[in-house]
Every structure is written in C-alpha cells, then in structure tokens.
C-alpha cells in the first residue's frame, strides 16, 4: 500500500471539519485535519482581541448544534459546558425595552392580542424549524430511500426525488392547518407577514432581525421567513465562548484517533489525472490521501484549491455564481466596566440585546447594501458574554460582542476607507442606547466581511459559506453537481457550511459528509 493510500485529509478545522474528522476516526479511519490558523475552530473560536479580553470571534451564539452530534461525540465529557442554555431577547428602543422569552413577553408595552399572536407565531415557527431540522440528513445516510435514489439511470446524478418525497410527507404530516400555513408563508417576506400579524413595532423589529442576520436580505426581501427558521432554536452561550464548542470537538476527534495539525494552510489539491490524490501545503509539503474532504467554502475549494480548469465550464460558472457576499460585520469592545443600556436592568445585561426598533428601520439599514454602501444606522445583535463568563475579561471588566449590519463585503469605497466611518456609525447607534459606553471602551475591533474573508478564509466573508436561501438549499447546495457532499472530481468531498444544511454551527454537514465518505469508500 502506498503512503497515504488509506488516509483521509480534511482541509480546514472548523466545526464541520472537526465533526467530520471525529465521525471518520470513530469508524476506524486514519484522519488528518489540516487547519490554516494557529488554532482549530474556523469561525467558531474564542480569541484574545485585546490584552486580557477574549471573545467569540465570528459566531457568538450557539443556535442549532445538532443534538445527535453533542450526544454521539460526547461533547459534554470532552469539555463543552454552557454558561447559559437559553438567552432572553431584549429589544432596545426609544421606549422601555421589550423582553422576550421565546413565545412569551416578559416585559414591554405589547397588547394582549400581540402576546397571543406571538405564542401562535413562535409555536408554528418552531414546528417548521423542526421540520427543516428533520431534513438535516438530506442526501446522506443509508435509508431505503437512498437505494431508490441510486436506481436512477445515471449514477453520477443521484436523484433527489426520494428525499423530496420524504420532505413532502413531513410537510403533509404537519396537519392540514399548519401545512397550509407553511405553504402560504414558506417563501414569504417577513415584512408583510409581521405587518399582517402584529401591532407592536418593537416586537416586529425584534422578530424580523432573525430573518436577516447574516444574510444580504432586508425584511422586505423574499424568503426571509424561511431564513428566520434557521434561528428559531434556543440561543446558547458556551462557557469559554464558541471556542469551547470547537475545542470539545477537537478533543473528541483526537480521542477517536484523528490527527490535527494547525498552522498548516493548504495551497492546492494534488491531482492524478481526474482524481484528487492529496494536498499541497503552502510550505510546499505534499500530503497524499485516498480521500480529501474540504471544510473550506465551495468557491475557495473549487476555484481556488482545485482550480476551474479541472472542472467543467458550466459547473465552474455555477460555483462562481453562488451568492456569498457577506453583509454582516462583527464588533468587539473591551469595556472598563459593565455597559449601561438605558432601561436595561443589570440582570438582563447578559441577555441577547437587539437594536432593530422597527421594520422600517431594518429595511432602511438594508437599502444602502444594495448599492454597496454600509448602513449609517446599522442593526445590531449584542451579547455581553462576560456577564456569565467572567473569565473572558479581567476582573470587573467586560467584553461586548455584536453582529452589525449591513456591511457589504464589496463596499464601493473599499473597506480601507469605509472602516472608520462605519465603526463610528455603529458606536453612534450604540451610544444612543448606552450614552456612557464610549468612555468605557478600552479597545475596539471591527471585523468587516473582508476581514472575515481574509482572516477566516471564507470567500465573500459570508459566515454560511453562501446565502442560506431556498435556491441554495438541499440538492441545490452548494450547487447542482456538488450536492450530497461529493465533488464532481473523484476523491474530493465537501463537509462545510456551503453544503446542506448550511452554517450556523449546526455540524450536520460534517456528520453527513462523514457518512457519505464512509458509504463510498469502505475501508
């Protein structure tokens, strides 16, 4: 047996790459994970951004980590603990803040009709989100359905029909009323939907934010109800930040026998004819492998590491056209003391604070993004994780982590010119709700999508490796011809957020990819 003939190389040690590595290693495969950065975790890491201050660098809340992964990989035993399992949402506004605990309004000026409507809305949203979560295994695994799929004449294009049939059955099993509602609102925009159902501007703003966070969409954009389902779950705060999740995954992978090398950026894939036979590191080192699994986004994987010339032209064009322009920036503030948000009592400071006071505000914030400009009045999702997790900052001091929108990756004036005024605009919005905040700032860091692209090696700086929308979902994710975690090139697989069911630290793509690799390459 030649060197590397039984090795699986996973390019990228993000959460999906680590999940994939752990499952493959548990199945007895020889696995090597190559991570470009100095620590594993990809965009789910805890990083010191100022002396003594650490923060979850890109992703900052845990929404939807697949519970099977947490259980099967025994992440709790490997060090994953939660500072908080479920955060409340505190919607800041001109008047008193609105406090939401899922379907319940804990505080705020909200009518009883809106309160009842929220219960109904959240109930349905969670049912639909659960329905989508049931499709997380789409295209992977060994079900009888898969055998039907294989009977398709052309083995290169596995039929999605069995999976879609199951999806349709699941939709039908929602029952008549909820099925009709899903079909009615499934592709709808949140603006119309929320206007139709609620009176409270503050409530509508808070609910709409979930449909647009991380996306290049405004509340009036189509499909925003669908995108909101990605965030319908509980919002957890891992102890030690998001790095604790990927840290536990790395421990699980190593415990199963996987080898992980950091500071090993991959420059390209090795090819023998049509087959990927390993990777070449930027150092020039060549590592042979029977199978290469890429945790890197599809555009970098195919057009960068592999190269368009090894692909068919239509496929390469589809990959190039994946909508992956990031629009979300990340703000990290090191604070000398706890921030004082107007009207927010100290015990709520550690919850999820949102600045999205009404639908019009969010839509107006989105408008400039269409023209490659940043929002002068951005929307924010803010956490102060040090409230629960004092280890993240020096004693008595705090870190603030916020997702700030909209900040298009392809800013017309360029981020060299845009960074300072956008940071100023963001601090201006923050200061309206926390007037003393500026004087507390010890250090500030703004990660634009361009920084995320460069520092975290994600094409377009889009944290989902491509917009998570219906036209980039299921067998269309990342593109037809590369769904089912398989590249059109033999020997190459995909396990990242660019594949179904996408990003947001779910881990399902990594788990599915491992199952597909195991099914197609019996040891």
């Amino acid at each position: 047996m030649t060197e590397g003939a039984d090795r699986i190389v996973i390019v990228g040690g993000g959460h999906n790459g680590l999940v994939c590595a752990a499952y493959l290693a548990r199945a007895g495969r020889k696995v090597l994970v190559l991570e470009a950065a100095d620590q594993v975790g990809g965009a789910a890491v805890t990083r010191e951004f100022a002396p003594g201050f650490r923060v979850s660098s890109v992703a900052h809340l845990l929404h939807a980590l697949d519970p099977r992964i947490e259980r099967e990989l025994r992440l709790a035993q490997h060090g994953l603990a939660y500072a908080r399992r479920e955060l409340l949402t505190v919607a800041l506004g001109e008047s008193a803040p609105l406090v939401l605990d899922g379907a319940n309004v804990l505080a705020g000026d909200v009518s009883s009709a809106d309160r009842a409507g929220l219960v109904d809305y959240v109930r349905r949203q969670r049912r639909f989100a659960a329905l989508l979560a049931k499709q997380h295994g789409f295209g992977a695994g060994f079900s009888v359905l898969r055998l039907f799929g294989r009977s398709a004449k052309n083995r290169n294009t596995e039929s999605p029909l069995p999976w879609l049939a199951r999806f349709a059955l699941d939709v039908r099993l929602l029952g008549r009323a909820d099925m009709r509602e899903l079909l009615r609102v499934g592709t709808m925009n949140l603006y119309d939907l929320l206007e139709d159902r609620f009176d409270s501007a503050q409530l509508k703003g808070a609910l709409a934010l979930d449909g647009v966070l991380g996306a290049r969409l405004g509340p009036r954009s189509g499909q925003t109800f669908f995108t909101s389902l990605q965030r319908a779950g509980a919002r957890g705060l891992p102890r030690g930040g998001m790095g604790a999740v990927t840290g536990a995954l790395a421990v699980a992978a190593r415990a199963a026998g996987a080898e992980i090398r950091v500071a090993s950026p991959v420059a390209s894939f090795m090819l023998d004819g049509e087959r990927v036979t390993g990777v070449v590191l930027q150092s020039g080192e060549q590592i042979a492998a029977a199978t290469v699994v890429s945790n890197v986004d599809p555009q970098t994987t195919f057009l960068g590491l592999l190269g368009a010339r090894h692909l068919d032209a239509e496929f390469a064009r589809r990959v190039a056209h994946i909508r992956s322009t990031g629009c979300a920036a990340k703000l990290h503030l090191a604070l000398s003391g706890p921030p004082d948000f107007r009207g927010v009592p100290a015990e709520l400071l550690g919850e999820r604070l949102v600045i999205a006071p009404d639908l019009g505000y969010i839509e107006a914030a989105f408008n400039p993004a269409k023209y490659r400009e940043y929002s002068s009045q951005p929307v924010l999702e803010i956490t102060v994780p040090s409230m629960h997790d004092p280890g993240l900052a020096p004693p008595g001091q705090h870190v603030l982590s916020a997702i700030v929108q909209y900040a298009p990756r392809d800013l017309a004036v360029g981020w060299a010119a845009g960074r300072a005024p956008f940071l100023e605009a963001t601090l201006g919005v923050l200061a309206r709700h926390a007037p003393a905040l500026r004087s507390q700032i010890v250090a500030a860091e703004l990660l634009t999508p361009l920084d995320i692209e460069n520092d975290y090696r994600i094409h377009g700086g889009h944290w989902h490796h491509g917009e998570l929308a219906l036209d980039q979902y299921m067998m269309l994710r990342p593109v037809p011809g590369a769904a089912y975690y398989r590249a059109p090139v033999p020997g190459l697989y995909l396990c990242g957020a660019g594949s179904h069911p996408g990003g947001g630290v779910i881990g399902a793509a990594g788990r599915n990819a491992a199952r597909v690799v195991l099914a197609r390459s019996r040891a």
Binding site: N154, N156, E274, L303, G307, A308, R309, H310, L311, D312, A313, E314, F315, A316, R317, A320, G481, P488
Partner: protein, 397 residues
C-alpha cells in the same frame, strides 16, 4: 469595419462584399445569416454547384462567428474548451473540433486557427461569446469577438489554386490541407487557409474588411479565364452534404439551445469519436463522455445510400420490423456521387456500417403526394472526396 452598437436601429447588415454580391445576384434572393444578409443563390443553384465541382466558386463567408483568443493561458483555455488536443495543433495549422457542455453534449463545432504561437481564432456556426466567457473562468486568456473585423471568402473548387497563383500568391500550391499562410495584399495582409466546407480543393481567404472589395474584384478579374463564379448558400449546402459534414441546428441541436431531454448529441453520437482525446488535460464534458464510453451511446450518426432518386428529406427511418429507429437530418440527390444520399441520426444499436434501414419518403408530383419505403444502406466515409482535395502540391486543372 465595426458594426455600430445601435443594433436596434439596424439589426442586419450588408457584408463587406455586399456591393459586389448584390450586383452579381441576378435572382435577388437573400437570407439572414446572424448579423448579415447573404445570397441564397446568384444565378442558378445547379450551375453554381457545377461551377464549384468543375471550376471554382466564391462564397461570402464573412458572417461566420469568429473569436480571437490570446493571453498566457490561451492554449490551456482552448484545451479545456474543446475535445481534441490543441497542444498538437502547431502554429500555422487549422483543426476541426467540437466542444461540449458538462453533460458531454455538443455545443457547437468549428475550426481552430492557430494563427501565431499562442494566438487562436475560433470559427463557429453559432454565437459563442457567453460560452467562451464562462469557460474562461480561472484562465488568463483574452477573448475578442472579431466576427465584424474580419472579412472572409471561401474560394473552392478544382481551379481555386490556379486563381490564387494568378493573384500572385507565390508558392500557394505547396500549402497543405489545414495549413495557413499570409501574403501581402494591396498594402494589407491576406491570410489564406486551405480549408472549406465543400469537401473539394479549396481555400478560405481572410482579410481586413476595408480591403474586401479589392480582393473580390481581383479574384474575379484573374479568375475569369478559369471559370470563377459566385456561389450562394444553397449550392454550399449541396456540397457539404456530399462531403458528409454536419451542420449545427440541422444535423445536431446545439446543447445550449436544447430544452427537452434527449434532443442533444455527444461527439460519439455524431461519428466524431476521433475528435475526443481523453489523454489530454481536463476538458468540459470529459467525465460525462468517459461515462458514455463505458455505458454506450444512445444514438449514432450514419451516412446513407438511399434507393431511388427521391431525396429522403426529413424521412423517418425504420428497421426491418417497421419500428421507427431514427430520422434523416440532411438529404439530397448527389450529382457528384451519382447517388441518393442522406445523413441521419438513428438509435443504437441500429445503423451499423453495411447495415440496412428503410426510409419513409413522401414526394409530390403535380400536387399529388406519394409515399414509398426506400431501402438505405449505411456507408462509411464521405459520399464524395476527390483526390485533389488532399493532393499537395495542388494542381491547376
């Protein structure tokens, strides 16, 4: 000449030779070929055809889609685009090729002119700019649409070499088939390739549109003693069927225009397996074609010798048991081959060389329609291929 960008003011243009082709067109019959008007026939289709096979003819080729491909990756780009190995095409040579979509279905066929080291001209029936741009992703190659910047005439027939010698193109008779050579002409450059669509001895002449009229006049001036005539598209169509050449939109549907499944064809299904080189680097459609090779093709292009003298145009083809197995795509009575010939697409495994098929031919005499079943024999190679087509040095006749 550059076409004005206001294409909505005028969509179809005269070719650089229009003043001359219009003067020669005694029948005044025209049709649209892409952006230009071209003559269907000038004086009599049969006589134009006869002139082609016995003297020589001039056909206005200017509307042919032309692209210039340059840049450091020009060769790599071309090789990823087409099915054949462009690395083997030396400067000064022309190669016929096809290119496929991802599914290995033919997008178009055409000729690659390796004009100078690393500089290629791609001539095709269909417009290809979008496909070429899509294919250029990841390559450092420049693509320039030059259809309107290059005027072209096809000078074809046994006395074509004699005409060029009379034009003063020294040594033209030594140009081998698929060779390219350039000559000074009236202060400009005349590029001559020994190529054509007629299956005869012949040349294609490429020149700056500004010099087009001068070239036309000089050709007819020096060619008159050896019987030069203008030829329209109808006579060209006759000659290309005799040569066994396929045409996009007629004998196969360009893959990017197909909507329905099963309507397109792979190179294997067009009898063009010789153009597919699996030994070269990756090209679009390679994986699909390898799979087809392993699985077997669904269709086959055949050349038929049809019983009788009624052209089998658009005829259904049947096997012995009267089961429909294909359709004729091009057909005619061939004066040169003295045979009733046809190109057809049939389902596998029908149409093996030497095999027999039946064509259902409808014909009309004085408004009365008749139908009969004509026996067809599958033949190999072109229907008409005179030795002068390949002979070098080319003779004067």
């Amino acid at each position: 000449m550059t076409i004005p960008r206001e294409h909505y003011r005028q969509a179809v243009f005269p070719t650089p030779f229009h003043t001359r082709t219009a003067a020669a067109n005694t029948l005044n019959v025209w049709h649209r070929w892409r952006d230009y008007t071209v003559a269907d026939a000038y004086f009599d289709v049969s006589l134009e055809y006869t002139a082609l096979r016995n003297a020589c003819t001039v056909f206005d080729l200017s509307p042919m889609t032309k692209h210039l491909i340059t840049g450091p990756d020009a060769l790599a780009f071309m090789n990823r685009l087409v099915t054949r190995d462009v690395a083997k095409l030396k400067p000064g040579r022309v190669g016929y090729t096809v290119w496929c979509d991802d599914a290995g279905q033919v997008v178009d066929d055409g000729t690659i002119f390796h004009l100078r080291d690393g500089v290629y001209r791609l001539c095709s029936q269909e417009r290809q700019l979008d496909w070429l741009h899509a294919s250029a992703l990841g390559f450092d190659a420049a693509i320039q649409e030059e259809t309107h910047d290059v005027a072209a005439l096809a000078l074809q027939g046994p006395t074509s070499c004699a005409v060029l010698k009379r034009l003063g193109l020294a040594g033209i008779e030594t140009l081998t088939p698929f060779g390219i050579r350039s000559f000074a002409f009236e202060g400009g450059e005349l590029t001559v390739s020994r190529t054509g669509f007629t299956g005869d001895l012949g040349y294609e002449l490429w020149i700056d549109p500004e010099l087009g009229i001068a070239l036309w006049d000089r050709l007819f001036d020096v060619g008159a003693p050896v019987g030069i005539k203008p030829m329209g598209t109808h006579a060209l169509e006759m000659s290309r069927i005799e040569a066994g050449f396929i045409q996009a939109g007629v004998d196969f549907l360009p893959a990017d225009r197909a909507v329905r499944a099963g309507r397109t064809r792979s190179p294997f299904e067009l009898d063009l397996a010789w153009l597919v080189d699996f030994g070269k680097p990756h090209f679009t459609g390679r994986r699909a074609l390898l799979a087809e090779q392993a699985r077997g093709s669904r269709h086959r292009l055949v050349r038929l010798d049809v019983e009788g003298n009624k052209p089998a145009k658009d005829a259904y083809l049947y096997d012995r048991r009267r089961r429909n197995v294909g359709v004729v795509t091009s057909a005619m009575w061939s004066p040169a081959a003295k045979a009733n010939i046809a190109l057809a697409s049939v389902e596998m495994p029908h149409g093996a060389p030497g095999g027999e098929l039946w064509a259902e031919i409808y014909y009309q005499k004085e408004l009365k329609w008749s139908r009969f079943m004509a026996r067809c024999t599958v033949v190999e190679g072109p229907f008409y291929s005179p030795a002068r087509r390949r002979a070098t040095p080319a003779a004067d006749f």
